[in-house]
Amino acid sequence: MNRKGEASSPRGSRFRFMEIIRNQRRRNLQEWLLTSPSLLWLSAFFLVPTLLVFFLAFRPADPYGGIGAGWTLNTLKALGHSYYLDIAWRTLWISLLTTAFCVLLAVPAGYALARASEKRRRLLLMLVIVPFWTSFLIRIFAWKSLLHPDGLVKKALDALGLTGPQTSLLYNAEAVLLVMVYTFLPFAILPIYAAAEKFDFRLVEAARDLGARPFQAFRKVFLPGIQRGLLTAVLVVFIPALGSYVIPDLVGGPSSEMIGNKIAQRVFVDRNLPHASALSVVLILAVLAPLLAILVLQRKRDKEKPQVIVQEDA
């Protein structure tokens, strides 16, 4: 730290060098100490169980609910059955629709939040966050009672003549979709709002100035400007949506089961752990695929943009 000493003698600079190494080591150690609890936690309760699930998928089940001896590919092969393909397909489209609706609703919400005055914005953000203070399960049961044949929504729709006594608002894919959009919407709004808040709205003015209509400016300048937020929103909605279990279980019916429900059935009803594991493996891979795709895409884009600062042309 002594600037004079280091400048006047070569010995000083060597001491300084040693000091840097020592500091570096100390810093490394500190980082390890700081991260080790979460690292240990993640390894013990996340990495190891996931690997166990992977192994179990290749083991046969025994009739008593345990694990049989030896290795087999039959469980994985059985997943090719059209019964599972139907469920996989349904899981995919419900998740995709959930993501689409969430992003469609979150973009105008994020835009409005970013443009709102400080006071108003705080209030609106609170409204987005407050539902988190109530248990997830209670909110789903609230929806159940709303959509119930004697519930508020159903009664209101009946009164307006929009639904008859035969139509059920519960226990179908539409109900699952509705509650999933409701549940995941804040997760889409927050990253999009974060991106919109950093967005320079003078760019929209510039586009308008150059002749763009409001929607053109929105599409050509605002949406590309919040690209990263959109990407995050898609990921944080789509991935958990694929693994949904509680929502289809509570508001869905047999015709709206998702992979999550099947996994739970295989574990709790059939007591077939290898089968449940095989389904889980498929699900994990299905989640990893879009994630990796997006990572690769982002890296490619970052490479295209060389970080060279051009010399001033004066």
Partner: protein
């Protein structure tokens, strides 16, 4: 030449702040017109009203005879160069420049040709594929100019376009802007707080303060004959001497300044005896010497004073001299070889003098107003 862009009684209020206060202004076709004033004077709001980003609370805006007050920005034949340039970060230089034409759905061949011509004009043909964050400040500025000019606007609005550049680059871009104005021949409305930029570029300047226009005129008019003390102080250096008009003789009047002999000044504003004024003289208009000048005192005011500070600047020297309670700044240009002279030094007794035509008078307030001002506020109405 007739008015081309016209503001008629335009006002705009933001909350408690009256940003623009009943401003009327006429800008002629092909003119390089500047709005000059300190930050917060309302000049940028005027520009944003012209661009269509703000709607005035009152008044109308006309472009080439048509009322454009209600038109959205995309329907106006004006384009803006923003202070931050506002280049689209996700687009290349080429796409940025082409934006206006793409929005207007022009044929691809025409877009290619026009963009090519613009890239040539700003000498950035080899940078067309770059993204804005790979460009230097000066290059960004040129792209912003090209992007705005490609739409062939009737008026180009420039919002402090040089403020983000360093001094050297600013001077270079100043010349470039001037050349572009000469080349394309469209009307420029230029907003700046920098009097140097405004003076060197503009055909006419409007000096603004607190939402109002203080004076409109050519750079020389504004410098030589400021209408208010704000304009005089804002443009260039000047001396202010507080005094009172004692007599009016023809085109001239006598001014009594405490501690000075009576001085005479050209009465450009038709002042009357009893008016309280600032007599203002630019430093370069005042002469300084050791000896009493050989002049008749009718046209020239000569006053003995004492030198307090001397700053030698090569081409000129600045002196601060004291007379009674007044400190007067004098600037002397060195036309001749300076070392042969016996220089005026600190604490020397000198004479300063200036011609009656070179001073100008700025109204303060009448003695009645001064009386009112010294009263407590609740008593003012009783007078």
């Amino acid at each position: 030449m007739s008015e081309f862009l016209e503001f008629r009684g335009v006002s705009k209020r933001f909350g408690a702040i009256q940003a623009v206060d009943n401003v009327s202004l006429e800008i002629r076709k092909g003119e390089f017109f500047s709005l000059l004033g300190p930050s917060g004077c309302g000049k940028t709001t005027m520009l944003r009203i012209a661009a269509g980003f703000e709607r005035p609370d009152g008044g109308r805006v006309f472009l080439d005879g048509a009322d454009i007050t209600e038109l959205p920005p995309n329907k106006r034949k004006v384009n803006t160069i923003f202070q931050s340039y506002a280049l689209f970060p996700h687009m290349t230089v080429r796409d940025n420049i082409a934006f206006g034409l793409v929005i207007a759905k022009r044929p691809a061949a025409e877009i290619d040709r026009e963009v090519g011509a613009m890239l040539k004009l700003i000498q950035m043909e080899d940078q067309a594929h770059k993204k804005p964050d790979q460009l230097s400040g000066g290059q960004k500025q040129r792209v912003a100019v090209a992007r705005a000019l490609i739409n062939k606007p009737d008026v180009l609005l420039l919002d402090e376009p040089l403020a983000a550049l360093d001094l050297k680059l600013r001077q270079k871009m100043l010349i470039e802007l001037d050349m572009i104005h000469d080349e394309v021949g469209i009307t420029f409305l230029y907003v700046t707080h920098d009097q140097g930029e405004a003076m060197s570029l503009s055909d006419r300047i409007a000096v603004m303060d607190a939402g109002r226009i203080e004076q409109i005129g050519t750079p020389a008019e504004i410098y030589e004959s400021p209408r208010t003390s704000f304009v005089a102080a804002f443009i260039g250096d000047t001396n202010f001497l507080e005094g009172e008009v004692t007599a009016v003789e023809g085109e001239y009047c006598c001014v009594r300044i405490p501690g000075f002999p009576e001085v005479s000044c050209f009465n450009d504003k038709g002042l009357q005896p009893g008016n309280l004024v600032y007599l203002s003289i630019r430093p370069e208009k005042i002469q300084i010497s050791r000896d009493r000048p050989l002049t008749n005192t009718r046209d020239v005011n000569a006053i003995p004073a004492k030198v307090e500070d001397v700053i030698y600047l090569g081409s000129n020297t600045k002196y601060w001299v004291r007379r009674d309670s007044h400190r007067v700044q004098v600037m002397r240009q060195h036309f001749r070889f300076f070392l042969d002279e016996k220089p005026i030094r600190w604490k020397d007794d000198v004479w300063i003098w200036w011609s009656s035509d070179d001073g100008f008078m700025l109204e303060r307030f009448r003695r009645d107003d001064e009386k009112l001002m010294s009263l407590p506020p609740q008593k003012v109405g009783e007078q």
